[in-house]
Amino acid sequence: MSAALLSAILVTTIALQALLPARRLLIVTLGAGLACLASTLLGTARTSEILADVPWDVLVILVSLGLLSQLVAESRLFGVLAARACAASRGDPRWLAIVFTIGMYVMSSLVNNLTALLLVLPMLLKLFKLLGVSQRYLTWTLGALLVACNLGGAATPIGDFPAVLLLGSGSMTFSGYLVRAAPATAVGLALLLFLVFGLVRPERDVEKSPISSAISVRAVSALYRHVRVDRALLVPSGAALVAMLVAWTALPTSLGVTPEIVCWIGASAALLARPKLAEKLLRRRIDVEAVLVLFALFVMVVAVRRSGVFGEVTRAIEHLPISGTGQLVVFLLSAGVLTGLFSAGPGMAAMLEVADGLARTQPPGAVYVGLALSVCAGSSLFLTAATSGPLAQALTERADLRSPGGEPLRFGFLQFLPVGLMSFAAIQIVSIGYALLAVRLGW
């Protein structure tokens, strides 16, 4: 009874927030409250016990990394890099798309996806206006950019929430995750570039004009003519990040200095470099929406875990009449599809509980990194599966782009679908391929 009701609350909440993203905060906070109430009344666990099990360390990491991302953003690094990327591409639509896709992968591996997208997309959309692009070009280029964003987020333990959760929960060490996930996501990126820019070739129907190319490069240079990176801000932020990376990699576990403490102190040290700006960021720029959504999801997942449901799911997978490797493949495919339907946060939070069970019989690296890659695949399936999708949609609508014929250009759910299906398949193949290889080699 308890397990069924709590699971129903979790699934209903996740489904509702996916269906009504504009009411997401209200839905998940209400769902979390109901989960606590049901759990208390049914004797599964008291609210204080559920709250004690919430992985606060993950939330600390998320907030700290978000603040560090904001500091780097304030240094104007991304704008200057975007302008240089434009100059390097010489206004050629094909190279522009490739350079920005690779750049987005690198950036989102270091800062959170939303920050990376918010800083780069307005510049890119302006470039699209300068170049005069087609609907097909817009769809595939922005689509590839979002998928690259997801891949970059999965490349490092600090890139995006799923990997942060693995780091914060202690499922994997920083370096353990990095050496496995970075190469795998790089393979995913190479596959994406080949499929989009080698086979689909979205630039094929863009009207190429030397005038447009020259104007694009000159106009962007003019916009950034004297903009310089604020080194006084970037250097302390970069130094703090490097120090954090060293601490995550080198500090022995026995010391008890856990990843969230490293992150907390590192971000605080970086903020000290600009106290006035730091105060502004702390008061106004913390992503309260992300924190609240994850907190509520954690509460519901903890309640469901205490009812024993995840243990039963793990046992059900373990009892499938197929090999252990086959069970892992089933798990990874399920994680990808569930993430596509319910988005990355809920997908990862719920599936990690099952992954912990599978990791007892399979190499943990294969299970956890495979899971992170599958969640990445799922995040790339639909435009609504990752938070960066609706943001890209909103920014594109606001930009009011037009084709050379004057028709309005759109980037919505349906436009993204072919990119999403192809990317989902490609990254899921990388995920399963990686997991099978890791099992074979015992990683």
Partner: protein, 217 residues
């Protein structure tokens, strides 16, 4: 020198005109069109976009008359501000602002009124001036008023005793504001009359400024 004009030049110009300024963006576009499509291309460009963007049209006509760069009389603008310790700039012309900031003495405070009819990334605008320029907003710019403060607005061409300014200037310079600033300086950023209806701009008398700076010295 015979490249065909792309069909999206209007969208491209609109994308940057807010941040570069109508005349500054005009010179950028006209020079690139000329480089790839010659004077014929510039003429076609002016015919196509001139009615919508009269300042761009005037820049194209100047190009066809043989002028190859804008005239930026930063010295004249600074002379007109003589005695002021702070200037609030109304309107945006990036080439002129660059010249003005470069020539301005370090002790002159420079603020820019952040208000445009086109999209502008104001953070990027001020980032181009390495801390020399800060932003003011319409509801608070009078905090900078005083006997040592001046208003400087960009104007576009002079015909007789009339000129054209962005509507923002007319909105800013009400009877109350006129008395609050040391001087109201107009600066011609175009240097020629417009041949088509001055869309985006409004007509005012040159004598409504306390000083008017021509495009040339």
């Amino acid at each position: 020198m015979s490249a065909t004009l792309p069909r999206t030049l209007e969208q491209a110009y609109a994308a940057v005109v807010g941040e570069l300024g109508m005349a500054s963006a005009g010179w950028l576009f006209v020079s690139e069109v000329a480089a790839h499509a010659g004077d014929e291309g510039v003429e076609a460009f002016a015919d196509e976009l001139g009615a919508t963007y009269p300042v761009l049209d005037a820049v194209a006509r100047q190009w066809l008359d043989g002028r190859r760069a804008p005239q930026i009389n930063a010295k004249g603008a600074l002379d007109a501000l003589d005695g002021a310790t702070h200037v609030v700039i109304v309107g945006l012309e990036s080439l002129h602002l660059d010249g003005f900031v470069a020539a301005a003495p370090a002790e002159l405070g420079i603020s820019l009124l952040a208000h445009r009819p086109f999209p502008v990334d104001w953070e990027r605008v001020v980032a181009n001036h390495a801390g020399r320029v800060d932003l003011l907003y319409l509801d608070s710019f009078q905090s900078m008023s005083g006997p040592k403060s001046a208003l400087l607005g960009f104007a576009y061409g002079v015909h007789g005793d009339r000129t054209h300014v962005p509507p923002l200037w007319a909105r800013v310079v009400g009877a109350d504001v006129r008395a609050q600033f040391r001087s109201l300086v107009g600066w011609d950023a175009l240097g020629s009359e417009m041949n088509v209806y001055p869309r985006w701009l409004t007509e005012v008398g040159v004598d409504e400024f306390t000083h008017f700076v021509g495009a040339t010295r």
